[in-house]
């Protein structure tokens, strides 16, 4: 049951392509010399597609995400988001973002933190409250809605950050190891929720992770990167339907294990020469 389930490609309201990265290079100039964090990276993320970035620490995953978010500019190459420049997309609030650190505002309650993007973009008070009520429930923090961030554990704070990222139902979600600090149970529950949210809102996701099973479970494609200079080594297609994914049985599915193995091999045994039988972009 692996191959024939092509991703459902009916017309997406935002067009066919969410993110188009072409020849992106980012060189950091430091006092201790220059670091080539990214070197000629090409990546296309289709609308509604879930793409994970995986690779060793320091290989430029966060850097790539920041370029897409227009929090940083490439030294060379271009980045388009929904057919416009990354800057235009940022100013149009095209994406929601969750950073490697939760980055909550400590002087705001959980609820006020989740409402922050809505408040900044002019959503009315009642609508904000309704949305926040739904989201605290979603991330399992309903009882903590009126607590302050430093009264929460690190994992709970991260859940608030995830709720904040999806608050505006963006068509693109940029997430940097959002589940890194969570226990296995919460992690699996939120993975399931994320799949469901994405299916509902048809959001494209660029998702940085260090976990191979997580990447495979969530993604349509897994981008495997190598370090110094940061490059894309392989792109592994994961042929699992969204429907299959929302079924908890998937985690024991043979196709799932096969995909995990392929990503692991790409990550560990990947040589500079392209591996046989794996699509390289």
């Amino acid at each position: 049951m692996t191959t024939q389930t092509a991703p459902q490609r009916e017309e997406h309201p935002r067009g066919a392509v969410a993110v188009e990265v072409t020849g992106a290079t980012r060189v950091f100039q430091g006092s201790a010399g220059t670091v080539t964090a990214l070197d000629g990276v090409d990546l296309t993320v289709g609308a509604g597609e879930f793409v994970s970035l995986i690779g060793p620490s320091g290989c430029g995953k966060s850097t790539l995400l920041r370029l897409i978010a227009d929090l940083d500019r490439p030294s060379a190459g271009t980045i388009e988001v929904f057919g416009r420049t990354a800057e235009q997309a940022r100013l149009a609030h095209d994406y929601g973002i969750a950073f490697q650190q939760a980055g909550l505002l400590p002087w705001r309650t959980v609820r006020a933190n989740i409402e922050l993007p809505l408040a900044m973009h002019g959503t009315g008070r009642a609508a904000r409250r309704e949305r926040a009520d739904y989201l605290v429930e979603l991330v399992g923090l309903a009882e903590f809605a009126d607590h302050y961030p430093d009264q929460l554990s690190g994992g709970m704070q991260q859940r608030v950050a995830i709720a904040r990222a999806v608050a505006e139902e963006p068509s693109l979600l940029l997430m940097d190891e959002p589940f890194g600090a969570l226990d296995e149970m919460t992690r699996e529950r939120l993975q399931g929720e994320l799949v469901r949210i994405c299916a509902e809102t048809r959001a494209a996701v660029v998702f940085v992770t260090h976990s191979i099973p997580e990447a495979v479970f969530l993604s349509d494609r897994v981008v495997v990167m190598s370090a110094r200079p940061g490059r894309i080594r392989e792109v592994v297609d994961i042929d699992l339907t969204r429907a299959a994914r929302s079924d908890e049985g998937l985690r024991e599915d043979a196709a799932y294990f096969a995909a995990v193995t392929r990503v692991r091999e790409a990550l560990h045994h990947g040589s500079p020469a392209p591996a046989q039988g794996v699509e390289l972009r």
Partner: protein
Amino acid sequence: MTAARTAAARGLPPVLLLVALLAAWQTVVVVGQVPAFLLPSPSAIGSELVALWPTISSAILVTGGNSLLGLLLGALTGVAVAVVAGLLPSADRMLQPFVAGLAVVPIVALAPVLYTMYGAASEVARVIVAAIAAFVPVFVTTTRGLRQVRPVHRDLMRAYGATPRQATVTVTVPTAVPFVFTGLRLASSLAVISAIVAEYFGGPRTGIGSFITTAAAGSNYARAWAFVVGGILVGLAFYGVTLAAEHLVRRRAGPRAR
């Protein structure tokens, strides 16, 4: 209830120490027959305090009023100027050396000049001296506080496409608030000290400082000390109120890990 009890338990040792010190002081003065111009006894000061309370309390109100007005003016200006400097780097570069200069000027030295400018019967000179004294620490700590925004918060504001104004209100100012209060605490005692010392240089005979100089000049040492006690009361009141305000704001903003 328990909070009140712990507060009492914590307040008790310093009070005991104070009582012990006063007793020792009284003993030394009485037994050693220390002359009054060297050191009057606590009981002599206490009886002056009681006898002159109407005068002392009105002097407390005058000096306290000058200090408060100066503190408010100085603090508001300090915060406002720091915010402007934070938004405009060019203004910041212009202001920093100016404020550094202001910090080393003995501000009370301005008092005689100001008395001639505003008339010897006016309190304005004292308010201005207190205001300048309060401005400096508030400006300095606020400026520092406005630079403490965490990079992840700056990224967040950028990701939301926030205008500079939105980013200032949402992230920059709340981050700076604890720093503003540190400055305010410094400023409150500086304002009181400056207002009192400014009175030493002339002006209407209305405040604590004027009465201290008059009493001392008239060799009424116990009376001078009674007014000094009045000055201490003003200082303590200011410190307490700023501390309470800080607690209140912190509480509203939730307890914070720093």
